[in-house]
């Protein structure tokens, strides 16, 4: 049961253009959403997050949009740079067993930013 889905396994964007990475979820109990970036042979690195009570969060070139009614979020990178080429994971955080929280990851989207 894939509760967090990233339906695009790969995306290619030209340098300077906007990259849009999409993520869908099924569990309405998720209360935070996070994006992680992963380079080869490294662990995922936290990029940006959004609370379920917000619809937008911005940090420099990165903006995450949340549409709760559609159970959909997206990560926008503007402008895209070659160093952004990586695998991006969407993750959702749901409270369980008291205050403990659990991250559920999507399958990832490989972004390639071309010159």
């Amino acid at each position: 049961d894939q509760q967090v889905k990233q339906n695009s396994p790969s995306l290619s964007v030209q340098e300077g253009r906007i990259s849009i990475l999409n993520c869908d979820y099924t569990n309405s109990m998720f209360d935070y959403f996070l994006w992680y970036k992963k380079y080869p042979a490294e662990g995922p690195t936290f990029l940006i997050s959004i609370s379920s009570i917000k619809d937008k969060n911005e940090d420099g070139r990165f903006t995450v949009f949340l549409n709760k009614s559609a159970k959909h979020l997206s990560l926008h990178i503007v402008p895209s740079q070659p160093g952004d080429s990586a695998v991006y994971f969407c993750a959702a955080l749901g409270r369980h067993t008291g205050t403990a929280s659990k991250l559920t990851f999507g399958t990832g989207t490989r972004l390639q930013v071309t010159l």
Binding site: Y36, G43, T45, T97, L103, F105, T107
Partner: protein, 114 residues
Amino acid sequence: EAGVAQSPRYKIIEKRQSVAFWCNPISGHATLYWYQQILGQGPKLLIQFQNNGVVDDSQLPKDRFSAERLKGVDSTLKIQPAKLEDSAVYLCASSLTSGRLEQYFGPGTRLTVT
């Protein structure tokens, strides 16, 4: 600040053998996680520790996998005996507390079972 350390980085074993992975979290981080990432999939939580106690091990195949964090600092994850389907990257992560959003990941251990 030193990051999450893991060793070994790579391991190749035959099926039915045993293997152990080690993780040292960021200093002061009370919560430690072990994830399994199979090729083409996202990381899947295996076990979560708060200090030296287990918070969640619902997805840990307990017939073959075990993990411990005896002194509430570093941790080991063991597989015995290994199966072909255990081939994956094993990621360790830590966070200040279980309620914090940000988890800091180590580089992972790539396990190949032949």
